[in-house]
Symmetry: C2
Subunit: 459 residues, 2 copies
Amino acid sequence: MLGKLILPDYESLIENKEWQALRDAFSELDAPDLAEILEDLPADKMAILFRLMPRDQASAAFEYLPIDQQTQLVQTLAGEQLAAILNEMAPDDRTRLFEELPAEVTKRILSTLSPSELRIARQLLGYPENSAGRFMTPEYMAIRPTMTAAEALGYIRVHGKDRETLNVVYVTDEKGRLLEDLKLASLVLADPGAKVSELSERELVSIPATMDREDVVKLFEKYDRVALPVTDTRGVLLGIITGDDVLDIATQEATEDIQKLGGMEALDAPYLDIGLLQMIKKRGVWLAVLFVGEMFTATAMSHYEHEIARAVVLALFVPLIISSGGNSGSQATSLIIRSLALGELNLRDWWRVAVKEILSGIALGSLLGCIGLTRILLWPTRNTVYGPHFLVIAITVAISLVGVVTFGTVAGSMLPFLLRRLGLDPATASAPAVATLVDVTGLVIYFSVASVVLKGILL
Amino acid sequence: MLGKLILPDYESLIENKEWQALRDAFSELDAPDLAEILEDLPADKMAILFRLMPRDQASAAFEYLPIDQQTQLVQTLAGEQLAAILNEMAPDDRTRLFEELPAEVTKRILSTLSPSELRIARQLLGYPENSAGRFMTPEYMAIRPTMTAAEALGYIRVHGKDRETLNVVYVTDEKGRLLEDLKLASLVLADPGAKVSELSERELVSIPATMDREDVVKLFEKYDRVALPVTDTRGVLLGIITGDDVLDIATQEATEDIQKLGGMEALDAPYLDIGLLQMIKKRGVWLAVLFVGEMFTATAMSHYEHEIARAVVLALFVPLIISSGGNSGSQATSLIIRSLALGELNLRDWWRVAVKEILSGIALGSLLGCIGLTRILLWPTRNTVYGPHFLVIAITVAISLVGVVTFGTVAGSMLPFLLRRLGLDPATASAPAVATLVDVTGLVIYFSVASVVLKGILL
């Protein structure tokens, strides 16, 4: 917010090369605000401003930049400044940056890290993508169970300076196995002579390094902790994941699901930052796939060409009927995809959902059927528009709506389950994909009903 | 996870009235696991189990239950147990519970609170719905700037027991105005004789009590803090908001947006917990509104009845063309709604988006047009299905696709901006709503193109 208000000032200062004024302006700003200012500048100006900043400030601001702008900036920075920044980044943030970079750039950059930093980066990079291991930081504070509270506080005072967080400290045995975690507050509140091993007051919750990030979010939601430890299969403490990273993960997961639900590949970058061509590619692929699927509607319709020729009035209701199926399918699929993502629903719940959706579908279809029936029967010009047989037409439309909406609801709700069962991402069952599926089937339902109801009358 | 595995055991223990065995089983469990077990039980068994628990455990587990099950349980509990639980709940959680209850029940329950608890509940309830005031807890730890680090730690040791969090402590003046916030870790790491006023190492970020919860999430994302203070217009500290609550808010916001985007009212409860009738209502209202909108397709089609009668082949491509418009609109609207929600886009960006979307729309429409053209021209039975004029038909379809997809893309991206400009929720521009809008226009575009291209040939 701050950045937005004073932005024009910065751009003109850069254009007029008023370096000293810029340096003065920086000195009053904190890292998140600096990052926000940088973020809104065009790439070339961002790089200039960045080189102008004192090294400490530059490193701090860099950590607050979105990942795609970090990537951009990294490729323009010279060796020395780059090394300084990377060495000061938190290991988990650095790992995420490396993931986004082209392999060539990653290699060049890894060579700028100090040996100990390099070891950490390599270690974090070894875990599967989107696993807990990728998001942990090894900068935690470990203490021993045999210490007293006072000894532990003294130890933290000496060794705690560079840790990502001290809000929670970790009690480990001599083999590095995690015994329990302890709030710093508990140490402060405790009797100074009390043993650390006696202070634990809550269940130990730990995350396996291979756990998927979606499940990590669920654990944080369940336990309301500010940080959780990551362990290997032997229970050895590898690192910790902090709440602020989990908030970022949850937001990113939701964004990806919304974009997939809208019928495209996840963009992985803010709207204004992504190039036009890349965006067209991410949307075009799915649009083309859906288009090819939707072509079956033309094939289905061509089977009924004869019926349409005899009763053109049938064609009038095609968009109404198929879109109602698509809409009810879109509702069902968004509902189920989100419930699966939040863990409110599991695979084994599919039949409970199926029962509920069949009942909902029949009820919703009947509702729309009644509205449709009323609309046709009460339309002032029904005789001229729909012809003398408007009553049977209305009945055909109403019956078809019940069938199509029920099918849409059931298909939209079951497709995400099916995808998860097959080990795929349920969010691939986008609203447009369900609509396409329902469109083809909806046409078949509609013309089948018509051929029965209108037989001998119009057909 | 734990709860799911041992659940059958619990149900049978209750059925067999093995109270002692149940009590023994509880004693080994922590509050979040107990809550998970309770959550999965039918309502009557949940109430039985809950009454059986020791009071402390019951209160702790209650706080971890989802809001709708808290509501259910509260209405079955007797006065004394209820009072105990409510008095031990964190004030912000209690406020959220009150919001969900029918007014009658709220009144009855407020009477069970102790006077000081009642004061807190009333205070929190006074802020507008979804504002920061509703989510804050007044259980923060305040210290004075004149204390030394050692004095502050001593003060916290005496007064810090019941605070929601001690990870951050708040420095206030004698009038209660917030001066700065300080990590507990900074106090621990500091030289014991250092003054509190000298320890601040970061920018003070505070939240106005009336700030919308969506903006609160953005502040947490920007500053990566575990807690942020809430102040009134004079800068007086009212309470704090903690990171775990913000994670819940972010998740809930995303769920609501996904459900709205799917074309329904937000459900406000997990899928399996919501009653069939209530769900039908939440979906039926929007489905009916969309249906009425979609009726214009029948009206639009009836204007072209004459053209369809002369060239039935035109009707075959109606679903293909309108659904392509709907799909491209759905992509654009999901993209823009999420970007607006995340603050990546602002109202004033509308024209940059419009330019990008017009270009995307033309490109994507041309892509689909080419696929459509190829499909018709290469179809083996093109002469029998589409008639002798398949080439002009193919051209009509291709041109219409460019127009319809471009319109869908632009309409889908601009509608969320328009809604926000009018002060409405952009997420109301659901994918189905955009599809409906595009369907009607798409028909007009298609038949207009047809009447120009096919004039003198088929029409």
